[in-house]
Symmetry: C2
Subunit: 310 residues, 2 copies
Amino acid sequence: MSVKLLLKGDHRALAKAISVFENEEPEAAKIAKEIFPYTGKAFTIGVTGPPGSGKSTLIDKMIKHYRSKKKSVGVLAIDPSSIFTGGALLGDRLRMTSHNLDPKVFIRSMASRGEAGGLAKATRNTIRLLDASGKDIIIVETVGAGQSEVDIVKVADATIVVTVPQLGDQVQTFKAGQMEIADIFVVNMADLVGADKTVTHLLGGIVSKYGWTPPVLRTVAKSGEGVDNLIQAIEKRKEFLAKKGIAGKKKVDKIKAEIASLIAEKISKASLKELSSSKDFEKIIEQVNKKKIDPQTASEQLFTRLWKKR
Amino acid sequence: MSVKLLLKGDHRALAKAISVFENEEPEAAKIAKEIFPYTGKAFTIGVTGPPGSGKSTLIDKMIKHYRSKKKSVGVLAIDPSSIFTGGALLGDRLRMTSHNLDPKVFIRSMASRGEAGGLAKATRNTIRLLDASGKDIIIVETVGAGQSEVDIVKVADATIVVTVPQLGDQVQTFKAGQMEIADIFVVNMADLVGADKTVTHLLGGIVSKYGWTPPVLRTVAKSGEGVDNLIQAIEKRKEFLAKKGIAGKKKVDKIKAEIASLIAEKISKASLKELSSSKDFEKIIEQVNKKKIDPQTASEQLFTRLWKKR
């Protein structure tokens, strides 16, 4: 594939490059190196929420807005449902829209392979490719479940958590620490009964971080109602990050986290390789199998031999 | 908490012990050591499938069967939807059933925290506690999405993948490699239109492993239709594992995988600790921030210093 064409914004080159990373082809490292200096200009928006909360419709409206402002948009839809793809893939739903014909809009979906940390890595690389290709706005869409919601925070400048009004007596529960991932809350389908209750509930659990208090917005994505407010909130978030110097700090933190995870991955691989060819490993597994030693103690012993006595 | 009571099958002691592990209290290591010799007797069944496929109802019927055979049952429901708990938690749905009053049935739900590998570790420990407490059958229920489906294979002796008939023209897609996790396929709600098509589709993609060909069964969990066949298939699977000596080999493989992941975790932590206090790390992050070097190259350099030159 041609890095030159990618840097010019060519969608075919971009699609090919993403595939190279997805399939972990040897060329990936070279491309990563070449494009890296051209990254860092895009603003990344994470959109997460349960299935059926209208994320795709909302993103469709966001794309329309940004296109009206002549901004180019890249969308990365991460689909965590890997065994069962009941219904359309997240990205497919978007691709069915008119944006598909727009040369300034690129939409890609990606299936989570269920590998630990794998999604964050693939997401980071794809965002970088979109960024280098000149996209001004990058939207990462994911279903709010497990690993993917944690990963989205790692890559997004603004994380939008979409929810819908709760019906009847059903109370929406947010677990401890998980209100924290949202920079902006959106109660979509806000024309439905129960919207007020949901907004109140969310407001009660808001957690400020570094001086930013996540707003709780109402939208009706289908009609476009409230989307302007959402765009404004994203702009405010952008200004906040820039003014407080948080953008720069966040950038450094992201780099740290990425390098740390890349190193951890390499060290894990290297140590397991060393382990698998060691007689100690076989012996200790036999002992665990015979219930003479428990796995935790066994791993501590091996760890000591592998690492501490370097 | 009392390990003695736990070993006698006391549910309060069991519940307390699980919490000790969930909250990673210091006592956990001690308990793990003490109970380990009493583990290895239970048969573990994994049940995975999309939301709304009737997993809970199916498990309810399975519990009824095993209880009629005087077997004790432990159920561990893993809920990956962490931000949004739309509807009841997996385990709650089961707990609403009559089994709640049965002293030989223990049901626990557990939320995935989205940590890489964390779920597998917590699941393994909880299964061990259930096992040591004398449960004959342990059922692990999870929504088939991302990490949790990969983890279930690591811990289950028999993995059941539940699906439902596809309506209309919608074709169910199974991604490469992902047919492989099922030891038994169940098409639930098999009285619905589309069941034949779904069965045919599944049969077309069946992958035999080590001489085991996953059967494709039809059930109507609500009425109990087909559940007998499912129980028979599980029995066959159990006999197959025993006869071929695969059970023993699988056990060793599981021990290997567990110890390897425990060691990898320890080494990652140790190396990142060493890293965070090194000047090299700060310097290289600054270089990445200035785009003089890309993250992959940076991590390779640091890895070399940390590991290879031991």
